[in-house]
């Protein structure tokens, strides 16, 4: 690991003042410390933000608000989250291991880096790690890679389970930076790789994620997260589905559907949602809607199984919620 300075920020202003293009914020450290050990990220200075507060899990008239430094385990086990937004609690429970959830923060989770093996291996080329060096995953080991939102520069998935659940629920991220505060829909916060895969999100220099806000959605009580992976626990998704369903007398009044393990960012399926609204929920209507919503999947050599697996998983999720 390269030498670096370590400083604990006392206030947000202090954190902003210490920021340069070569500094990194540290929350739980489960992504940052890992990538620094691998030499993938090499900051000159690490700014520990754990003293900045940024806590709290609160439900009010507007919805749920979770501070960026809340830990994954605390949010996953919070009774209000589990009751009002089960999809969020389940996505977190299905993430990483208990030890990592005890350390990792919500903000850090949303900003975690891809698990693409080339990105994590400094001996290989990778456009995300070293812009312009190439993307060996295009034709190489791409079984775990994306089928939506890919480009000739990068085909890596966004690895967060939580982000998929939050995008399904129209969550917003609250940001604070040297130039003030702002709020962005999480779905727009993430960028497509295009020809600059090193730019993953809309975060400006020095900006902090301070909280995540999930708007109130009564039917989110009927929501769930289904994650399919190579082993039953403690693995990243091959495909995953976050869904919330408002169904009365067998007819879909409203639905939210987002999928993970398949997109270069958390992937919402608006066409599938649209196709389902007003329909009776049956295996046939669910399948038709999901097929319409995923028709633009572009598989690579080793992940051709993903679109079919995704469709089956989405249908199963919808029918389980509707039953």
């Amino acid at each position: 690991m390269r030498a670096f300075e370590y400083a604990a920020a006392r206030t947000p202003a202090d954190a902003f003042a210490r920021t340069t293009p070569r500094t990194a914020y540290l929350a739980g450290g489960t992504t940052l410390v890992d990538l620094m050990k691998l030499g993938v990220v090499e900051p000159d200075a690490v700014i520990d933000i754990n003293g900045l507060g940024l806590r709290g899990i609160r439900l009010d008239r507007d919805g749920l608000r979770v501070g960026a430094l809340e830990r994954m385990s605390d949010v996953a086990e919070h009774p209000v989250v589990a009751a009002e937004f089960p999809v969020v609690a389940q996505a977190l429970q299905a993430s990483a291991s208990p030890q990592i959830r005890n350390m990792a923060s919500i903000g850090g989770n949303l900003l975690q880096r891809t698990r693409c093996g080339y990105f994590r291996d400094v001996a290989t080329a990778c456009n995300k790690r070293q812009p312009g060096s190439g993307c060996p995953a295009q034709t190489g080991a791409n079984r775990g890679h994306a089928v939506f939102g890919t480009s000739a520069s990068c085909v890596a998935t966004h690895a967060s389970d939580l982000a998929v659940a939050l995008v399904a629920l129209d969550a917003r991220v609250e940001l604070a930076g040297p130039a003030g505060r702002r709020e962005v829909p999480l779905a727009d916060f993430y960028r497509l790789p295009g020809d600059s895969p090193q730019v993953e999100n809309d975060l400006r220099p020095g900006e902090l994620v301070t909280a995540v806000a999930v708007p109130r959605l009564a039917f989110a009580r009927r929501s769930t997260y289904l994650k399919v992976r190579d082993r039953q626990s403690y693995e990243f998704a091959l495909v995953s589905v976050a869904a919330a369903l408002d169904v009365r007398n067998g007819t879909v009044r409203d639905v939210r559907l987002a999928v993970g393990g398949v997109g270069t960012r958390p992937w919402r399926l608006p066409l599938a949602e649209q196709a389902l609204r007003g329909k009776r929920l049956t295996e046939a209507t669910a399948r038709q809607a999901v097929e319409a919503g995923t028709a633009d999947a572009r598989p690579l050599a080793f992940n051709a199984f993903k679109p079919a697996l995704l469709r089956r998983t989405a249908v199963r999720t919808l029918l389980a919620l509707g039953g």
Binding site: G29, M36, P98, Q99, I100
Partner: protein, 161 residues
């Protein structure tokens, strides 16, 4: 840099710590507590599990600076003097230890599980220990050990009452 923290109940100071050292490294190489093991050093195997402020974490992914002023309990802090913790005793008796590299992490993680859930189901045990990888035992004896430890704790709780 210098870091000060509480380790197994004792105020501990480590001087001349390099910023890039992990809590795991500090424990093993500076504090003289080699119980926590360094296997993957990537958060994947759980061999380095210690309590940090009462919750188990992978100490290989904790930067030394993050420990300042906090409380750490390692596998060395589970026994009461010469008396093994019921979890340790159960691992010995059930034959859940082969090479032993995964054992310290499993002991801490199991200790935490039984603190929070005295009578876990097999599914709950598997989920709680999912972040602790063992390359030797095939896990069956580890399951036996956790069930035995839970039963022992229930017995001794009854005796106290």
């Amino acid at each position: 840099m210098r870091i000060t923290f509480t380790c197994n109940g004792r105020l501990t100071e480590a001087d001349g710590v390099w910023e890039g050292e992990s809590l795991l490294y500090v424990l093993r190489e500076r504090v003289g507590l080699p119980g926590s093991k360094n296997a993957c050093e990537q958060g994947e195997c759980g061999s380095c599990t210690v309590y940090l402020d009462g919750d188990p974490v992978c100490s290989c992914l904790v930067a030394a600076g993050q420990v300042q002023g906090r409380e750490v309990r390692t596998v060395e802090g589970l026994a009461d003097g010469d008396e093994l913790d019921p979890v340790q005793q159960a691992f010995v008796e059930a034959g859940a230890v082969q090479c032993g590299f995964c054992t310290p992490g499993l002991l801490v993680q199991t200790h935490d599980l039984l603190e929070r859930q005295a009578q876990p189901s097999d599914a709950e045990i598997r989920e709680a220990l999912s972040g602790n990888l063992c390359r030797c035992t095939g896990y069956e004896k580890i399951m036996d050990a956790v069930r035995l430890a839970a039963a022992r704790r229930a017995e001794s709780a009854e005796r106290v009452n």
